[in-house]
């Protein structure tokens, strides 16, 4: 029995040895590195710009994928030529369109590599082609060397943003389609529409600005100018770009990507909006308080209209001086009994309280003051009011 075991062991060892011998087979060794790189490097002139081998044929053109940072941007172009903003919406489906601040990126690129940073191909003459002129909207497996349009956009944007700020979330550039906060239901302007992190159409970490700036000027009658930054942003719903035009990322960031606190200088002047105002609108002997609707117009917003954006009643900031919308633009369901007329400063008398709104406010036009003679023949009546005056609420 013992001898039998011995023989078995010897037998297995033999088999294992044979196997090991086979393992060392030369057919499995790694090929040494003689890549087309060496060949391509040896090649001179223009062939190597497009072909990776020395003798391209019709069957095997050995075309290289496009060189992103090759010298293929030709022609003379300046950063100012390009559009200010590009709306990228060709592929909008799951996400809404992207508002790309082209001019801003162009100026930033001018510091490092110019247009070629993104426009890696441009013919010697004519316009710089748009991404979609080369990159197909649909991803084709047949062309593995060129990313489709979506991939091309994403690579251009995200790979850079990732280096810059480790930012890769979709929402950084996109607003999700159908999102309640998205483009579809978002008011065009006004405080309700205002996203304080929206810097020239792209999201940005919130910038905290000083709420009030007080300037000392040489104006003899009113040397002090008070500027309530907070009012303009929070209440009037202005976007950063409405005033800060011409700023680039480099105004705040150095090229290394670190944040440097810096004051933005390129401000649209006050006069651009307040041109027809007299000097005293801004200049005074002391600092001015923040905007108060009750003080400035005599009509307090509290309590119900306090949270309504200015633009809801006034429209655009330049039209703020009188309402562009009427009460019924919002209060479409007002009827007798549901509206407390005393809120307007006039408590209706018993005779009038049950009348339809339109009986006095003809065609529900609340901008026109009602006339008593529309109903009353007695000449004495227009001197009276249809109720008593009360303090406004």
């Amino acid at each position: 029995m013992r001898s039998l075991r011995g023989v078995l062991i010897v037998l297995l060892c033999l088999a294992a040895a044979a196997a090991t011998a086979q393992v060392a087979d030369p057919a499995h060794k790694t090929p040494t590195a003689s890549r087309p790189a060496a060949k391509a490097a040896a090649m001179q002139g223009e062939c190597a710009n497009c072909h990776s081998c020395t003798s391209p044929s019709h069957e095997n053109p050995c075309l290289q994928s496009c060189r992103r940072h090759g010298a293929q941007f030709q022609g003379k172009h300046t950063t100012d030529e390009g559009p200010e903003i590009v709306i990228i919406d060709q592929l909008a489906e799951l996400y809404g369109p992207v508002v790309f601040a082209h001019q801003l990126h162009a100026r930033m690129s001018a510091m490092t590599g110019g247009c070629t940073n993104c426009h890696h191909y441009s013919p010697p003459t004519g316009k710089v082609p748009a991404c979609r002129e080369c990159h197909e909207p649909k991803r084709e497996t047949a062309n593995l060397r060129q990313p489709a349009l979506k991939g091309a956009y994403h690579r251009q944007c995200i790979n850079c943003h990732l280096d810059w700020s480790h930012e890769n979330a979709c929402g950084f550039c996109h607003i999700q389609a159908g999102d309640k906060t998205g483009t579809t239901e978002k008011p065009k302007s006004g405080a309700g529409s205002h996203d304080p992190t929206d810097i020239v159409g792209a999201r940005h970490p919130l910038i905290k600005a000083t709420p009030t700036y007080t300037y000392q000027t040489s104006e003899p009658t009113g040397p002090v100018v008070t500027f309530h930054h907070e009012d303009h942003v929070e209440q009037f719903g202005l976007s950063c770009v409405d005033c800060h035009r011409g700023d680039t990322c480099s105004s705040c960031h150095d090229t290394g990507g670190t944040r440097v606190k810096k004051r933005l200088d390129h401000v649209t002047t006050c006069g651009a909006c307040h041109a027809e105002r007299d000097c005293a609108f801004c200049h005074s002997s002391g600092s001015k308080p923040q905007f108060d609707h009750r003080v400035s117009t005599g009509w307090a917003l509290e309590p119900f209209h306090k949270h309504v954006a200015c633009a809801t009643c006034h429209g655009k900031p330049e039209d703020f001086r009188k309402p562009s919308n009427t009460c019924t633009s919002c209060h479409i369901h007002w009827e007798v009994g549901s509206f407390d007329h005393a809120a307007t400063g006039l408590k209706l008398s018993e005779n009038h309280i049950d009348l339809e709104c339109a009986s006095c406010h003809l065609e529900m036009n609340f901008a026109v003051k009602p006339s008593c003679t529309d109903c009353h023949d007695e000449p004495m009546l227009p001197g009276k009011l249809p109720g008593t005056k009360v303090p406004r609420r």
Binding site: V7, Q22, V23, A27, A148, R155, C170
Partner: protein
């Protein structure tokens, strides 16, 4: 009685046959039976942004538990090193920025080896290497031995330990239904917003990978992970650093299956192993019988039985 000459003749013949078959085994190295037009995927990790969309697409396609796409925006999970498990066939791991290197996001999934150790280890053929590339799994054949999990050099296959009655081995199948039957790219490839994943013929992908390295030698580590490692893999990786620096173990250029299969197949090739073993056994049995009882080859059956009994007694004595 067997003569010395007869014994030598017999054992010589047996050994000869064995040697011959071993020699045949030696002369024929492992030849890949795979289709030259087989498919693969190339991951360019220098392009990957770590958005984890691929993880979501994979879970969606393979009906694995998952939340909405938004829940995958959570970057906090990237702080931990993860491995594919029974609920995720693919995961992205983040290697943070250092003084020398930028941040790198590395997608992990089954590499679909050209000569897979898991397939070699599977004793029931539940795992199969398609000649077109993907390593597929058939839960009906699987007996749950989990040899594949031990065999895999990349530690990819996971097991449904929570599933008490019908547990399965869980791993990426390169979306075999889509890729092989419909010719569509795997879900993760289709989802990738930056096209860091390319799907196509493996030979073509290799060519593209080398083109990229040649054109941007500063950007890439000069080796394509998966070109040679463990005998090559259908899934190829391009990165700015050696693969060992983003979670791929240091592996030989030969499939671990080659060694085991050579031993196993070598022994049993042409039935030579068993033949040799039983040949020798019979010779030894006869010769030992002869030695003890001085009997020849042609004994009556009764006598054989008697011998058998004696031997059994001998055995007991040994143990005692």
């Amino acid at each position: 009685m067997v003569t010395r000459r007869e014994f030598l003749k017999f054992s010589g013949a047996t050994a000869g046959t064995a040697a011959l078959t071993s020699a045949t085994a030696l002369a024929s190295p492992y030849v890949s039976p795979l289709d030259p037009a087989r498919i693969g995927v190339l991951t360019d990790l220098t392009v990957c942004i770590g958005c984890r969309s691929c993880e979501w697409a994979c879970a969606e396609e393979n009906k694995l538990p998952h939340g909405t796409l938004d829940t995958y925006n959570d970057q906090a999970v990237l702080e931990k090193r993860r491995r594919p498990d029974a609920e995720a066939f693919t995961v992205v791991n983040r290697y943070a920025e250092t003084a020398e290197r930028p941040q790198l996001d590395a997608k992990v999934q089954c590499m679909h080896c050209e000569h897979p150790a898991c397939v070699s280890a599977c004793i029931v053929g539940a795992l199969e290497k398609s000649l077109m590339g993907p390593v597929t799994y058939d839960a009906w054949k699987c007996i749950g031995c989990r040899y594949c999990m031990i065999a895999c050099p990349f530690q990819i296959p996971a097991y449904e330990y929570e599933n008490a009655l019908t547990p399965r081995v869980m791993k990426c199948t390169m979306c075999a239904e889509r890729t092989l039957e419909q010719g569509r790219p795997p879900a993760c490839v289709e989802m990738c917003p930056v096209e860091a994943l390319l799907f196509g013929r493996r030979d073509e992908l290799l060519k593209i990978a080398h083109e990229r390295i040649d054109q941007n030698p500063d950007r890439y580590h000069p080796e394509v992970q998966g070109e040679h490692t463990v005998g090559g893999t259908s899934w190829l990786l391009l990165a700015d650093r050696p693969a060992t620096e983003f979670g791929i173990p240091k592996l030989a250029n030969e499939s671990p299956a080659v060694l085991t299969e050579t031993i196993q197949h070598g022994i049993f090739r042409g039935f030579s192993g068993p033949l040799m073993l039983f040949g020798l056994l019979s010779v030894l049995m006869k010769s030992s019988t002869d030695k003890r009882h001085g009997k020849g080859w042609d004994e009556s059956e009764d006598q054989e039985d008697q011998n058998q009994d004696n031997r059994n007694h001998d055995g007991e004595d040994h143990h005692g």
